[in-house]
């Protein structure tokens, strides 16, 4: 372990639950971290705040989570004067000791000695026919429209997918006056029964889930479980959704679809920071390796929250604190080892709840086998499953970066963020190797597109 530097410069990336609690922990210990966030206001996604001037109460915005949201937001407000807060700022590159930032279309550099990455997550969506049509959004998107903009998807909305967000979103939407015409769950009720012992480790969360289901049922909204495949149809926008269940196909007319199958961690900065990655079977994703406290494989780089493994908002707050405590320990500053141990224990227990959730909402394993050749896998470049399969057959491609070089999958504006996992699964199925062996897309800066004009402004500054 390196000797603690004379004056550490800690940068926390992400002002969601993990980042806020990490910042609070460091401030309490007398440090003044820099907190960088892409959004205009703190809170991350689940506790996302609307722009200033919006009037709904916390109860209206966050429902059962109102108290937690309030606690987090007010904690952050108290922190503001004691941190160097950089909202509306994108960290687009991470090199040893230095970050490249974009704020107000201008480039800036930021040095650091220690990093806490709290980069959060994105809905996990596997491609299905029609998924690129206007009117098709992630569950998270549908929620942000309501929470942060006071809008719902217009017209008849189908909510489809799996995971805890499914029923929550349907409930929030129906309550807000959206026309929810069906909720389609790819998990089976039987799976939920099997997962009962693990789910009961977090009875409050479990009860909320049951509450939403009960509420929706009472409103007469059709809830269908065991859905196998979905397909959206329409020309300019979605006009109907087909699904199969037990060999039977049903179609429902609709104007919007909100869909998602759990969450996927955003790990680009961890990769650029040089963290070692391991394929995580539970998350079906490559994740940066992290110890019980949140230390990555790189000294001085810590990981917290959903950005390095999906565990939910409560766990994110705890892991943000745990990572900050580990950082303090590594700096040789006083911090409670007993509390670190306690946090580690709680987070482990939470992981078992998560495993229960995965049983209750199993991921659809066979889509890569069953999807048609004309299914668009890469939204940005419009690369189809057939093009990927052809590369395997004709060019002997077995590795994902090679697949990218030859077919252009993952070469678009999102640089594989949305399609990477799907492309790896298609490749794995076509070659007969495991998804882990198919490899993972190499990340390069910028992690999101940056305007050339920012480069020009930077050159002028020199």
């Amino acid at each position: 372990m390196n000797a603690s530097p004379a004056s550490p410069q800690v940068v926390i990336i992400g002002a969601g639950p993990a980042g806020v609690r990490a910042a609070q922990t460091l401030v309490d210990a007398g440090l003044r971290p820099i907190v960088i966030d892409e959004n205009r206001r703190a809170g991350g996604q689940i506790y996302r705040q609307p722009p200033p001037g919006f009037v709904r109460s916390k109860k209206e915005l966050y429902g059962f989570e109102a108290a937690k949201a309030e606690a987090l937001h007010s904690s952050f407000e108290q922190l503001r004067a004691k941190i160097d807060y950089r909202p509306d700022t994108l960290v687009w590159n991470c090199a040893p000791g230095q970050l490249d930032l974009l704020h107000a279309q201008r480039h800036a550099e930021q040095t650091y000695t220690h990093l806490i990455l709290c980069t959060g997550a994105l809905d996990r969506v596997m491609p299905f026919p029609g998924w690129t049509l206007p009117g098709v959004y992630t569950l998270g998107a549908a929620q942000v429209a309501l929470k942060a903009q006071g809008c719902v998807l217009d017209g008849r909305v189908v909510v489809a997918g799996s995971g805890p967000l499914l029923y929550l979103l349907a409930y929030q939407y129906a309550k807000a006056g959206a026309d929810v015409v069906a909720v389609l769950d790819t998990a089976r009720f039987g799976d939920k029964l099997r997962a009962l012992p693990a789910l009961l480790r977090q009875p409050v969360t479990f009860a909320k889930g049951l509450y939403f289901i009960g509420w929706l049922r009472a409103k007469g909204i059709p809830l269908i479980d065991g859905v196998e495949q979905i397909a959206a149809d329409g020309k300019q926008s979605i006009q109907s959704l087909r699904w199969t269940r037990g060999g039977k196909t049903t179609e429902i007319a609709c104007d919007a679809l909100a869909t998602g199958f759990g969450l996927r961690s955003e790990t680009q900065l961890a990769e650029l920071a040089g963290c070692r990655f391991v394929f995580n079977e539970l998350n079906q994703q490559w994740l940066p390796q992290r110890d019980d406290a949140g230390r990555s494989s790189v000294p001085g780089v810590y990981l917290a929250g959903d950005g390095s493994g999906i565990a939910g908002a409560d766990a994110a707050e705890l892991s943000g604190r745990a990572a900050a405590l580990a950082l303090l320990q590594d700096l040789g500053l006083p911090s409670s080892k007993a509390e670190s141990r306690q946090l580690a224990q709680t987070l482990r227990s939470n992981l078992q709840f998560r495993q229960g959730l995965e049983t209750a909402f199993p991921t659809a394993v066979h889509w890569a086998r069953d999807c048609a050749d004309d299914l668009v896998i890469c939204r940005c470049e419009e690369i189809t499953a057939g093009e990927l399969r052809r590369s395997v057959q004709q060019e002997g491609t077995v590795e994902i970066n090679r697949l990218k070089a030859l077919t252009r999958v993952g070469m678009g504006r999102c640089q594989g963020r949305v399609c990477g996992a799907a492309a790896a699964e298609i490749l794995a199925h076509a070659t007969g190797v495991s998804v882990a062996d198919a490899g993972r897309l190499r990340v390069q800066a910028p992690v999101k597109p940056i305007p050339v004009s920012a480069a020009l402004a930077a050159e002028e500054q020199i």
Binding site: E38, Q45, P50, P51, P52, G53, F54, V55, R56, E60, L122, D123, T132, L133, P134, G135, V136, Y137, T138, G140, A141, V144, A145, L146, Q149, G150, C151, V152, L153, D154, G155, A176, G177, A178, Q236, S237, D255, A256, E266, R379, C380, E381, E382, G412, R413, C414, R417, V418, K448, P449, P451, S453
Partner: protein
């Protein structure tokens, strides 16, 4: 035809903007995406097949909501706030002088 419908926060100052040459109205605090999709059904067309797109994740990750203003500036609709006088192009209507 629209993809988003307002259900709350309706008492906000009005903001005028232009979409494909047509004058429209949004509310202060709307993202460009909200401003456009409360009036329309697309934000852009893909470069390769011309398929219409209207965003997907709404949190600045999928990069599927990039629009261009009439003077060529790239705007990520879901993370950019609508501003008075913005002149946006969605690809729904061919606009004379649409530049690179």
């Amino acid at each position: 035809m629209s993809l988003l419908r307002r259900v709350a926060e309706q008492e906000r100052a009005s903001v005028s903007f232009w979409l494909d040459g047509k004058a429209l109205s949004a509310r202060a605090g709307d993202s460009v995406l909200t401003a456009v999709l409360t009036h329309a059904e697309q934000l852009r067309r893909t470069e390769f097949t011309g398929a219409p797109r209207a965003g997907f994740c709404l949190i600045g990750c999928c990069q599927d909501c990039w629009m261009r203003s009439e003077d060529g500036v790239a705007v990520r609709a879901c993370t950019t706030e609508i501003a008075e006088g913005m002149r946006l192009l969605s690809g729904a209507v061919p606009v004379a002088g649409e530049n690179k």
